[in-house]
Assembly symmetry: D2
Homo-oligomer: 188 residues x 4
Amino acid sequence: MSGVLVSYASGHGTTEAFARSVAEGAEAVQGVKVTLKKTEDTTVTDFASADGVILGSPVHMGSIDWRVKKLIDEVCAYMWISDSAVGKVGGVFVCGSGVGNVGGGSELAMLTMLANLAELGMVIVPLPRTTPGYFTNGLHWGPAGITGENEDHTPVGVPDEQLIVARHHGMNVARVTAALAGQRLLNP
Amino acid sequence: MSGVLVSYASGHGTTEAFARSVAEGAEAVQGVKVTLKKTEDTTVTDFASADGVILGSPVHMGSIDWRVKKLIDEVCAYMWISDSAVGKVGGVFVCGSGVGNVGGGSELAMLTMLANLAELGMVIVPLPRTTPGYFTNGLHWGPAGITGENEDHTPVGVPDEQLIVARHHGMNVARVTAALAGQRLLNP
Amino acid sequence: MSGVLVSYASGHGTTEAFARSVAEGAEAVQGVKVTLKKTEDTTVTDFASADGVILGSPVHMGSIDWRVKKLIDEVCAYMWISDSAVGKVGGVFVCGSGVGNVGGGSELAMLTMLANLAELGMVIVPLPRTTPGYFTNGLHWGPAGITGENEDHTPVGVPDEQLIVARHHGMNVARVTAALAGQRLLNP
Amino acid sequence: MSGVLVSYASGHGTTEAFARSVAEGAEAVQGVKVTLKKTEDTTVTDFASADGVILGSPVHMGSIDWRVKKLIDEVCAYMWISDSAVGKVGGVFVCGSGVGNVGGGSELAMLTMLANLAELGMVIVPLPRTTPGYFTNGLHWGPAGITGENEDHTPVGVPDEQLIVARHHGMNVARVTAALAGQRLLNP
């Protein structure tokens, strides 16, 4: 049995909807058990007991939500000091407003979370173009929800078809997690 | 009189259309003279005689066209060795396929060209959200054309309304260029 | 008279030492008045009354300190909504451990702060190679302190010679700020 | 038997020395056969017959050598169109001058090559802090040679101890390649 942690921040529920779909996808993989947590509730124990980790964030001002960064600085940093996530598997996703039609900082937001996974020594699963839903919500680093904006800059939310890519990304990360879990391939 | 160089690579003419609009915008600023060149034809003299530089590229595999990188490695590197672009002004733009609806690497492509401008010591003009056309083709680092793709992966091309943001970016970079030209503000 | 805001987070005082040197440099430029604040104490009014902004952060897990991101999400986002920083001037700096001898994420940390400045529509001042101190503590995006690490991963701190580049970066940003203050060059 | 392709550009032989060490490390893993090629000589067949790919580049002007980008645009793009590298394994390395002591663009150079691997749908192996040699030549994205500079900006070259991290990175990527080769875990 392999464990996958999905940890996310969400302001208005859109990234949460994406996170749930990622988690459902991962859970659908045989032999995988998923823990779904908000960043604020995620603990060192959650990380320590997971074989794979998927981090998700809204895009704010061209990068991740500060609450995800707080998780990284306080919880993930502990994993880094103890070298206890080396060789585990990870992936990322974001939800952005879609203003400008070219991601609005989704890429740098993903890279910031991926940098954390790389610091921890985790093997990274990208988003292949062959993933269902890629053509409407895909960047090569991971799935990207496009929330739209109301006049007060709150998100409109994501329609169900956007969640397809999230679900499949969850499956992909979970499959690689299950394949590598328990093996000590990096600096054994 | 200030000089602005617009240097670009283009495969099927789309980035060229964007480059022409950037150049038209810059030319529309009083006291500014524009040189528009393909990267392959751009020389050290073009750089040396410009007060501002705007680089443009198609997005290929999540970064810039190799011909733009060749210009950077061979022509811009010469400017770097001689420290002769310090304090000049620069900006960037890209054209991508739009596959995935979140930029498809437009951001990292822009950052690669901006890294070159920063290495040269050039002051960077971003793309404010207040720029006309931002909401259809804007990233905070610069304008981004969305070309669409034919079945053979060639670009469909950009409709005229996409060129608005390019024209205004050209004006913005040209105005800052004119304001700073001839001043030696960085490490005088 | 132009105003420059230097806003920084600091855990053990190293980034604070850098911030003080940046502020001293900016203050040394004629006609410039500096406000030096921790991110936690920085307000919308501080931003609104500044013509130039310099953000500084420790490097944690390959990106900026969460407290800087909280400032960006809560204070800078307000400036973004109101488009009230467009055409102002900005720069960044970081302090990292130096583990690995190639920056350890200093670049992505700087880019995350620069993304915020770009979102706000601010003109960006990089770090030219001609800046005194560049060869010991310079990246083209800005100055980078190298703190070293004690056995418990706390920073050793930065010797005085590292502060040279910080001081000169402050001067550079302040000079460009003074030159552009009050002009409305971007989308006038 | 799994195949690992190591493809690199090199101007003065330093990145080539790194590439040889990466290749030696990969070859040392049981059941792995390595192909070592300059980017200029690397073909679609080389990519198609490899289960894992390690790309290496000198750092020029804050990003990769144009010859590596040409390989990506012309050879890797073909793999992308045909979706034939999905689920393969990859890693990267760079060699930079070390000017400034914080990587001088090593990170963005690595990210540009990693973007290509992600576009191809390849699983990415980072560089864990536990890797021998990390503390002298390591970034979390991969190994980084520091070449020094002669007065004419040519590299001094890398001493043998710098090659340790390259060798171990080769081993790590090769082990993950062997573990995943032939499995169709991404969008099966």
